[in-house]
Each structure stands twice: as structure tokens, then as C-alpha cells.
Amino acid sequence: MEEYIRKQIDQELTIISNEKIANDVYRMSLNGDTSLITAPGQFINIKVPGFYLRRPISISDYDDEGVTIIYKVVGNGTDALCRMRPGDTLMCLMGLGNGFDVNACGDHTLLVGGGVGTPPIYGLAKALLALGKRVTVVLGFGSQGDVFYEDEFKDLSKILSGKDLDVRVATVDGSYGTKGFVTDCLKGLDDVTDYCACGPIPMLKALYGYYDGKILGQLSFEERMGCGFGACVGCSLNTKSGFKKVCKDGPIFWSQDVIF
């Protein structure tokens, strides 16, 4: 079959670790070919044994050896995923979606993660810090038990820039950090040049409203997908520049293009 294949996006990855890091939230590291991943914010589409459709999960981190994903158990498919063990293998469509445009980020980029929208923001922070860019991180969660990766962001900054990173956390019930939402954590950040965010649509909308179109944002959207590579048109989003596929044209869209 090799002669007709142009791009083998269906790769077998081997689970290295799969551990719980917060309420219903797991981190899985997988080993395998990552050469098709081109930008933070992309996702992989995982064939979980026993389930028909694949599960699209954003990439939190990757290197030449493998990828790390962080996912929440929300149904039977992710429940089966969290029970898989090191050594098990998964077929994954690799390097899907456009990813964040790191070159478009300005002098001080605000990075915002809401719940399990946080993982791709970690990969983006890593890429921007490696480029010597300044970032501030704001994370929003429901409650203290849902919080993850605050320290990982801080450690990332120490390793890559030798500096302390401003990481702010909000919880809806106030059990950790600032009580409220990510937009309640933005005081004193007047020199922010742009923002990148991944999380629930109400969070993206609140950020868009907070900045009132004055600075540009890159917003990562989520939608139930059929294929994940642009074939089925299941995950459409109506934007100011026309109908877009979340899986292929996104999942990252420019804030001024989104119809809230």
C-alpha cells in the first residue's frame, strides 16, 4: 500500500504513563513518531479500543520522542482511556488542526486556560518562553480539587528563562486562588499585547468582552467531531469570514473572526 500513501497520519503510540493529576483529570505520556506535529494547540485523534469514533484530545506537550496529553474523564470513552496501562498502544491521527501562531504573539502575551482547556496553553507557554517572549498565565477551575499545572507552568519558566512566572489561578467557588473567573484575575496587566485562550465558550466570550476588541486573541474552540481531519463537516463554526471546520481550519480562531 506504501506507493499510494502520501502522509501516514495514523500512528501507533505506546503509553509510557497514565496518571491522575486532579479530579477526573489524567495525564498520559505516549511514545512514538511526532514528526507531524507542527505547533502548540494541535490535537491528536485517539482510537480507544472498543469505541467507534476517535477521541480528539489536545496536545499538552511534545518532543521528538512522544507526546503528553491531559484529558478529563467525561464519558465511557475517556473512562476506558484512563484505565489503559503503560505498554498499551493506541492508534492516533497525528498533528491535527492549525495550532497557535507563536509568531503572531506580541511582547507580553496573556495565556488563559479554563479547566481541561489548560493543557494546550502549557505547550504554548513552553514555545513562547523558549523564544524569549514574556507571558502571564491565568488558569480557571471549578474548585481546588480541579486545579492542576500551576507549579508546572512556574517550573517551565524557571528552566527556560530563569525567571519567575506570574501564574494566577481562579476557582469558581473560591476554594483556591481568586474567587470567580479568569477575568477576575487580570488586574495590573495593562501592558498585555495579545491573548491566547483555551476553555469553555463562556470563558472565551468573557475574555473577548473584557478586551472589547482592543487587542487580538487566539481562541481555541472545542466541538464534537466525527473525523478530526476536515472530511465530515461535523464540527462547523460560523465565523465572520464564513463557515469554518473546527478540526481543520481551527481549533484556533482569531478573536475578531469569532461571532459571539
Binding site: 500500500m1 499510494y4 500513501i5 502520501r6 502522509k7 501516514q8 497520519i9 495514523d10 482510537k47 469505541f51 467507534y52 469514533l53 476517535r54 470513552g77 491521527l93 466541538e223 464534537r224 467531531m225 466525527g226 473525523c227 481531519f229 476536515g230 472530511a231 465530515c232 463537516v233 461535523g234 464540527c235 462547523s236 463554526l237 460560523n238 463557515f243 481543520k248
Partner: protein, 304 residues
């Protein structure tokens, strides 16, 4: 050497494998992954007169061995299909194309088929009178013999290309509809479209899909599709394109033994984008194992 070629109303296909409409776009996504010229043909995304966003999202749900979609005929509209998609496709795809046409009125079906009639690379018109995801038109034309015949006669009057009517399984008697299409001049029958289905999220107590119901497809519906192809083969004398849950070369053989002259592969493309190349590679070997020298010899074999 096994001959896996087949024919639909005089249109020769190198093999019987045709990606089904709505699972293959206009080919570009798959052409990035493999050379789509290995396909027998493909049926492009259902096209309507006007551009359509389709139904609200979420419009995909998972099922055991299948999926539900309520995409709702999202497409760029016939002007963009003719002016942008088909020229782009012409550069990369050199096999016959099946144009899948949908509509909300008899006039719209006629209008779109008349436009497609002028497109040289389009060799077959597949007229979808079976979309379960639109409230007006769509499946409404495919659920009574009279309405199905009316659309068939209308589109036949504006095209000299072979017309295949794509039928809905959501009917009491599939053979009555197929016979009515044949009598009205249809050159062939495509079946089955998706089964009307529904899932409910038990945590929220609400339908998973925004539009509540959608079209159920995937391996779970394969036995229904085989049964309907078998019944229609007995009832008509025109070729059948069989589809519904086909995922393997074995499924292709089974569908052809039921009576299909060619086979469309739908949902499987979405789960494994390399399904069609895998089937095409496996098919000659499977034929050898089954002692089939010429694939067309098995069409309808199960009828004895």
C-alpha cells in the same frame, strides 16, 4: 490476475470502491493522505442550490459500532462547487466522479442536475432523496413512491447522464420506492442512506445532538443495508450501488453478493482515513481466496 473492475450504466470503474457522499468532502483532505486515483470513483458532498451551514452543533454522536450525524447538508452551494471545487478536483482526480445532489423542491433538484449535466468529469448523478437531517425536502421525497418518481422524472428530463436515486431505509417498503424510481426512468439505485436515530446524554437528560435526531451509520447498520440491497435487487432490473456500514473487503463481497454492482464506503472513512486503500489492496487477495476470477460474476450471487 483477478479482475476487480465493474460498471455502472456504461461507466467503467477500475474497482467497485466509492467513498460515500458526506464522508469525503470534495476529495482534497484525502488526497493529502493518499493518491485518490486508486478509487473506483467517489461521490462528492451533497450539493444544494444555495450554500448551507447545516444544522446547529453538536451534530455528531457516537453509537455502539456506529455514529449519528445531523450535519444537515452543509455545503458551499452549487456555484462554488462548479466554479471552485470541481476545477480543483479535475487537477488531481482523473477517474469518473459521482455528483451527489440534494434539494428542497423538485425544481431545486432539477436546477442542480441541469447544472451538473454540463460538467464533463461528472459521469453519474446520485440524487439524494433520503437525507434525514433536513425538515423540508430531503427524505420527504424518498418516503413515498409518487414523490420519488416525481423527482426521478424531473431530473431525467434535464440530463443525459445516468441518474442514480439514493434511497432512504426509513420506509415501510424499500422495493415500492425503488420500483417507482425505475419506472420513472432511473438508471440505478443507491442505497441505503442513514437510519434515523437518536442518543440521549443521561447525565444531562437531553439529546446529544442539537437537532435531537440524526442519521445513524457505521457497521451496526450493515445487516440492514445488505437486506435492503438484496430486496431491491430482486425488485428492479437496474444497477445498485450498495452502501451502509461497509468497512472491509469482506463487506464489499457480501454487498455485491446481495446485488450491488459497486459499493460505497461512508462512516469508515471518518474513523480510519485509509479504509478505502486498505479495502482496494485486500480485495484481489480476498477474491483469490474465494476463487472469484471476475468480481462482477458475484453480483447478486446470493439470490441463487
Amino acid at each position: 490476475m483477478v479482475d476487480i473492475s465493474t460498471e455502472l450504466s456504461g461507466v467503467k470503474l477500475d474497482n467497485p470502491i466509492i467513498p460515500a457522499s458526506g464522508t469525503f468532502g470534495f476529495g482534497a483532505e484525502f488526497n493529502n493522505l493518499y493518491d485518490i486515483n486508486i478509487l473506483g470513483s467517489f461521490s462528492f458532498k451533497g450539493t444544494t442550490k444555495e450554500p448551507r451551514f447545516g444544522n446547529p452543533t453538536p451534530r455528531i454522536a457516537e453509537c455502539r459500532d456506529g455514529m449519528i450525524n445531523s450535519v444537515g447538508l452543509a455545503n458551499p452551494g452549487i456555484d462554488a462547487v462548479i466554479n471552485e471545487e470541481l476545477p480543483a478536483l479535475r487537477d488531481v482526480f482523473h477517474k469518473p466522479i459521482i455528483a451527489n445532489i440534494s434539494g428542497f423542491s423538485v425544481d431545486e433538484y432539477k436546477y442542480c442536475c441541469e447544472r451538473m449535466n454540463k460538467e464533463d468529469q461528472v459521469e453519474i448523478l446520485e440524487v439524494n432523496i433520503s437525507c434525514p437531517n433536513v425538515h423540508a425536502g430531503g427524505m420527504a421525497f424518498g418516503t413515498t413512491p409518487d414523490a420519488a418518481a416525481e423527482v426521478t422524472a424531473a431530473v431525467k428530463s434535464v440530463t443525459d447522464k445516468p441518474v442514480y436515486m439514493k434511497l432512504s431505509p426509513n420506509v415501510t417498503s424499500i422495493t415500492d420506492i425503488a420500483v417507482a424510481c425505475e419506472a420513472a426512468g432511473a438508471d440505478g439505485i443507491s442505497l441505503i442512506n442513514t437510519l434515523l436515530g437518536m442518543r440521549i446524554d443521561i447525565k444531562r437528560g437531553r439529546p446529544v445532538i442539537a437537532n435531537k435526531m440524526g442519521g445513524f451509520s457505521g457497521p451496526a447498520i450493515f445487516p440492514v443495508a445488505v437486506r435492503m440491497v438484496y430486496q431491491v435487487y430482486d425488485a428492479v432490473n437496474i444497477p445498485i450501488i450498495g452502501m451502509g456500514g461497509v468497512s472491509t473487503a469482506e463487506d464489499v463481497i457480501e454487498m455485491m453478493m446481495a446485488g450491488a454492482s459497486a459499493v460505497e464506503v461512508g462512516a469508515a472513512n471518518l474513523v480510519d482515513p485509509f479504509t478505502c486503500p486498505k479495502i482496494i489492496e485486500r480485495l484481489p487477495k480476498l477474491c483469490e481466496e474465494l476463487k472469484i476470477n471476475k468480481l462482477t460474476d458475484i453480483i447478486g450471487r446470493a439470490h441463487g
